[in-house]
Amino acid sequence: MSGRAAGPLARARARAAWGLIAPMALVLLAVAAWPLGRTVWLGFTDASLAGGGDAAFVGWENYYAVFDGQAFGVLADPQWWRAVANTLVFTAASVSLETVLGVLVALVLHRRFPGRAWVRAAVLVPWAIPTVVSAKMWAWMLNDQVGVVNAALLGLGLIDAPLAWTADPLLSMIAVIGVDVWKTTPFMALLVLAALEMLPRDIYEAARVDGIHPVRVFFRVTLPLIAPALVVAVVFRTLDALRVFDLVYVLTANSPATMTMSVYARRELIDFQAAGTGSAAATLVVFIIALIAAMILTAARLRGREGAV
């Protein structure tokens, strides 16, 4: 790095760098920045996607407006707030469950045993299955009339009557969370396993020689050491879960019991052809996710500072 900042060679290199980046940057501007800007703008207009470009600016009306003492707009829609609550419940439940399960699976896979490579490969299978396919597969297994899950639970005597997994409000939320946990635990397990494999094995030797209980070793030694990798994985999964669409849409369609923010925004945009309110909702989705990301990052930074002191 020494002496790179100044000098004509460094400047020529920097210019060449921008030349190399330009094609990628232009494409990203066209397919990400421009559509996002259009979405935010549409949120302030009365546009409809079917019509032409003759949209009028309406200010905050798509967000919140009062006509004749009645409130309109996304922020006045109880279904929107239901969707926000659903998304938060879904994210909190599925990310925490898959983190715990992912760590457990990773601990099992970290042990050496015959056939370990095969088990590791099997764990990857749910991750490799397209989301739409896993949603359909589980919809079939959770079918209230002929599904294998109800048949098994009835056979074991755990329930007296078939459960409506994808219709009942509470059960359908549980089903959506369960399928998501099934699908994304492999991702968590693999990331944790990679972190575990970077740990030196001799600490465990030392702990075993000292006769410390394995559970204690896990909480005192392993967990703090894999914590940085775990935090990154949790952040990734959280941001991913907050924008969930496919799974919910295919498993329970537009049911209000499981409708997430993304499903709500798409329904407004496409099913109701309301480009204005739909774009306003989409903008709010970005805003909420950015807010949560900022909160997580601030919390992580504060924790990091505490740890340093």
């Binding site: 790179r4 900042a5 920097a14 060449a16 760098a17 921008w18 190399l20 980046i21 094609p23 990628m24 940057a25 494409v27 990203l28 397919v31 990400a32 421009w34 559509p35 996002l36 800007g37 259009r38 979405t39 549409l42 996607l49 099992v108 088990v119 099997a122 990857l124 299978v125 991750w127 490799a128 299955i129 397209p130 989301t131 739409v132 359909k136 589980w138 002929v146 099934w182 693999l190 990679a194 990798a229 990154v232 994985a233 990734f236 941001l239 924008r243 669409f245 496919d246 849409y249 295919v250 923010m261 993304s262 925004a265 798409r266 945009l269 496409i270 739909g278 989409a282 989705v285 990301a293």
Partner: protein, 277 residues
Amino acid sequence: MIAQALIARLGFALAVVLIVAVSIGPLGYALVTSLETGSALVSPGVWPEAPTLANYTAVFAEQPFARNILNSVLVAGGVVALSLSLAVTAAFALARVAFRGRGLLLGTILCVAMFPQVAVLSGMFLLIRSLGLYNSLAGLGLSYLMLTLPFTVWMLTTFLRQIPKELEEAAIMDGAGPLTVIGRVFLPLLWPALVSTGLLAFIVAWNEFLFALTFTLTAETRTVPVAIALISGASAFELPWGRIMAASVVVTLPMVALVLVFQRWIVSGLTAGAVKG
């Protein structure tokens, strides 16, 4: 003491069996279902009594499913090729050259990778329609660049940072320009990274559902996930589960095979993208 050790080993073996069963059980059950028709479908027995391939022929006969598979392959393949070629030069500059605004640019790219897709849905719809690409594979591919490009750049940048500086400095000393350095020095070292990044991008594009559902209209331009999601029977309450499972198996088995064959590379790609990021 011995009994205790035996119980511990048995418990561990049970945990392994449970993990494997939960992981591959649902796919196995889908496979069994796809081989059954009529009343066998709803009978509780797990093993098919009279296995038949009728569902598989029906999937291809009653809708343009072969065309849907071809669409998915074309779109995903094209998007991967385009993303990699755009990303490799940009990643080189981002990883190896110190310039003003590099951190900001990398941060922006990571933000785009974490973007909710629904945020660009209406803007993207207008963009695709104004280019006359609505209900076409090209339009779909264009929208997929938003999903694959940022993370391709991010992953290749991470990989490129790990290559020792001396290699490139020697080439620059010999008077090689940046494109020569990329082509002659980095590409030969980078191909494992290109394979794992390309595979992950392919999986993203192959599995994508929201854009494909919104930007295509006719059965002939649909990709596989949309085609499967929209398979319907005589009435809304009688879904042809045998056919849906047959279609699912057809598109999932190649994916599973791909992931298992390239397991090591995919895992290294995922961990490079996430842990070191």
